[in-house]
């Protein structure tokens, strides 16, 4: 099982693809998402979003606020801008 991840900003689709693990920082603290996660909607604070791809490589993005939504192994990260 993998996660279908989309990291989008208003002006572009920053990253899309399959991943095995996503971590981000919400207003409540750091949050990790593995496949099979329960539907969740969180508000992100400025910080790092790291996406671990299926091939084991890790991508990191510095986002400025935004939202994270998880449903049916589909993770969308909406952010105003990626630094």
């Amino acid at each position: 099982m993998t996660l279908n991840v989309a990291l989008v900003s208003p002006t572009e689709q920053v990253w899309t693809g399959e991943a095995s693990f996503v971590s981000a920082r919400t207003t409540e603290g750091d949050l990790g998402v593995l496949p099979g996660h329960t539907p969740l909607f969180g508000v992100l604070v400025d910080g790092l979003v790291s996406i671990k791809g299926v091939d084991g490589s890790t991508q990191e993005f510095n986002v400025r606020g935004g939202f994270l939504s998880v449903s049916n192994d589909r993770v969308s990260i909406l952010t105003e801008s990626v630094v």
Partner: protein, 303 residues
Amino acid sequence: MGAQLRIYRRRMRSVKATKKITKAMELISASRIVKAQQRVSASTPYANELTRAVSAVATFSSVEHPLTTPHANPRRAAVLIISADRGMAGAYSTNAIKEGEQLAALLRERGLSVASYLVGRKAVNYYKFRDRQIAASWTGFSDNPTYENAKEVADTLLTAFLEDSVDGQGVDEIHIIFTTFKSMLTQEATAKRMIPLEVVESSTPVDSALLPQYEFEPSAGEVLDALLPRYIEARIFNAMLQSAASEHAARRRAMKSATDNAEELIKSLTRLANAARQAEITQEISEIVGGADALASASAGSE
């Protein structure tokens, strides 16, 4: 060269110069439509995801939020009109402004006063010329809006929305008028209500049965608080991008017909100039022949 011919030639020169300009503007607009369209489609994933999220939150949480619940007794409505900074785009700006007038009339019928928020120099000039009140206006980015521009506009509107409408400064509803880019040939001025939220639209209709029962972090109310301003920003941004694409398409079409008309004009002027030149030559010949005849008869008489 006769006076008539000279005047025709002068007019042809001027039409030719105009044609060069309109042709150049047509080509520039044509290349910019493509870029503007790409920007619209680049902003679509974000807008779709946000729409999905807003529908999910609004559907499944019982949170009462000022942005989603209509005001019981609305007094004032904001109308945001997105027009162009420059002309030469046919009826593009006029259509948006007219749509705004219609909406304003409709709102007044409902007993609301209207606060005008304007984007683009054309709308601002239209309102200034008629001495109307402008709540706020932004100019200088109509053909290439950035997200920051949309944010600025959204911030102003949301601030007005959160203020009390009783003292006359705040608004209870926000409407937007922009030009939807349907295709290269059709663009349509459209009025939409933004707040309170209308039927949520996106390019892919969201089936409420498919929306997941989200867990909210920190809470549904706070998520909505954070989500809705972004949603409004994204919608304004999308409206601006579509309007920009429409503006370029309208300008391309207007400039194409201007170029065609100039060509037509040059053709008929060439015909007229040719006829004038021919008439001149004919006259000269008959003058010479007449002169020679007169000389011949004069010298014949002297003998």
